[in-house]
């Protein structure tokens, strides 16, 4: 039998994602990939996978799966999220900790109240074919992932490994927090000159709210309109992830992982890469403010975020067993830190 996860309930929008489809935007293929790439990488590190291994991205409401494999080591990452496991050893495992589930166990992924997304990594990864060098699902063109679509009831998601390896479970001391009301940092442009200075000031001073029009392509914000100074129909150019695009209505849209590669509306600003995960984790109704930084400062923040993340990965340690640490465990610690470091 092929090892797998049988989907008993699919959740709202559960897709296979990795770090995205890089190098095909010139032919119109969006990057896709995780809305919160750091959480995906952390989940993979907790099960000993290379950080870009395909995982499940779970939005707003989680799936319930039955384990069709001897055993599977899994780890969930997402603030406040948890795994509710029913079986021989029923238990709740919090996000940020790996655990090994057995044949026939029923696992419910419970999304936390703060962050809209969480990531379930399985040791060895999900066995889906790479399309244009990525396992990421792009639903609009049915590319990648599990048949190019979100999971449905009755699907059996194939896994690479039939049983989890024999070694201690791992835990990270802290998760990456969801947005806590601190302003989202943006770089103005590339088309801020389509807006009057007072409109740019509105963007930087007003409070916006995430509307219900929110998906992996982008989130529309409610708040004061951002009128254009003149026309709004520009000749198409490329769109970066995090672009704040303002269509004719004046209602801004923050473009996320599945956004089109090009578009014809002015983009007043771009969310910095270090803060993309905060936007990706927003829920409808969440309130947002923006603050502007220079591109150079944003590049430094990107580097700092990567250094902080490396520290977090380095702090991953075995979960203490009931009997405390033993000799074998200490020996294996070395092994594990070798497994979890680095992107590959």
């Amino acid at each position: 039998m092929i090892p797998g996860l049988k989907v008993l309930a699919p959740g709202l929008h559960t897709t296979v994602q990795d770090l995205g489809r890089i190098g095909y935007q010139a032919i119109g293929v969006p990057v896709s990939g995780a809305l919160d790439s750091f959480s995906l990488r952390l989940a993979n590190a907790l099960v000993g996978n290379p950080q870009r291994t395909p995982t499940l991205e779970i939005l707003l409401s989680g799936p319930i799966v039955e384990i069709l494999a001897d055993s599977v080591r899994v780890a969930l990452v997402g603030e406040g999220a948890s795994l509710a496991i029913r079986g021989m050893q029923s238990r709740v495992t919090p996000a940020g900790e790996s655990t090994t589930v057995r044949q026939g166990d029923i696992v419910e992924i419970v999304v936390g109240p703060r962050s809209a997304c969480c990531y379930l990594a399985v040791e060895g990864g999900i066995a889906v074919p790479l399309v244009l060098r990525s396992a990421s699902t792009y639903v609009r063109a049915r590319l990648g992932g599990f048949h190019g679509r979100p999971l449905r009831k009755g699907d059996v998601l194939p896994l690479v490994m039939a049983r989890g390896s024999e070694r201690p479970e791992l835990r990270v001391p802290a998760l990456l927090p969801a947005a806590r009301g601190e302003p989202i940092r943006i770089v103005l442009g590339p088309q801020q000159e389509f807006f009057a200075p007072e409109t740019v000031r509105t963007l930087l001073s007003a409070e916006f709210q995430v509307s219900k029009e929110a998906d992996r392509m982008g989130i529309r914000l409610d708040g004061p309109p951002l009128p254009h100074r003149g026309g709004w129909d520009i000749v198409s150019d490329a769109i970066a992830t995090g672009s704040i695009q303002v269509p004719g209505s004046g209602r801004p849209i923050v473009l996320l992982a599945d956004h089109q590669t090009t578009g014809g509306y002015p983009k007043i600003a771009t969310v910095i890469s270090a803060d993309l995960r905060l936007i990706g984790g927003c829920r409808p109704g969440d309130k947002l403010r923006f603050v502007s930084v220079t591109a150079e400062a944003a590049e430094d923040l990107c580097r700092q975020t990567e250094r902080d993340f490396a520290e977090l990965i380095a702090a991953i340690a075995p979960v203490a067993e009931r009997g405390g640490l033993d000799q074998v465990l200490l020996l294996e610690q070395n092994l594990i830190s070798g497994v979890v470091s680095g992107l590959e």
Binding site: G28, I186, P190, A240, T261, T262, V271, E296
Partner: protein
Amino acid sequence: MDVRFLSAGDRALVVEFGDRAERELSERILGLDAVIRANPPEGLVETVPTFRSLMVYYDPLVTGRAQLEQAISGVLDRGDSCRSGARLWRVPACYEGEHAPDLAEVARLTRLTPPEVVALHSGARFHVYMLGFLPGFPYMGDLPEPMRLPRRADPRVRVPAGSISIATSLTAIYPYESPGGWHLIAGTPIRLFDPGRERPALFAPGDAVVFDPIDATAFASIRRLVENGEYAIESTPLVA
């Protein structure tokens, strides 16, 4: 004309050449793209040529806007001799019946006859400016002046895959069924995008495209060949 460097966050730099869909701009943009692809600066992730700009994606862990701006400034307008590999494609196009739902309306709005619209469209050689909107969706131009129209006031929710469309100075082909606001004047049975092909998108920016009129019977037989993987679209190296 001056080139402007504009930041699109901390991972993308816009090299903006202008604000119109024009051949002269496109040649400069595609020229720069070819130079950069032939000799990518350290930390370059990918490039996307568009009507008005070249988007340069980079990895801020390796490089930065300042270094890239310097590297790109040094190679601007060196691209004319670098563009090799462009092709001329002959695309079978059926301007009849269900494949051409807007042909009569386009003729009425442009005060041409339907055969005149077909003759103008199939008599022109189009330049592929860029791909976007959907995987493999080509923005091509320039349409002959008499057949230029604004987009439809009422976009369709469903445009069939293979629809050949026009709006403003441009023509395009929908690779997938999708919503769309352009006028549909013909259909092609060929497959514009297939991730399993060595060349997933049929056309690349800088290629040229000519439409060859076919009737509904030929459309059906070519479609069968395409479905069986037995159809090879005609193309030749493009000599500029």
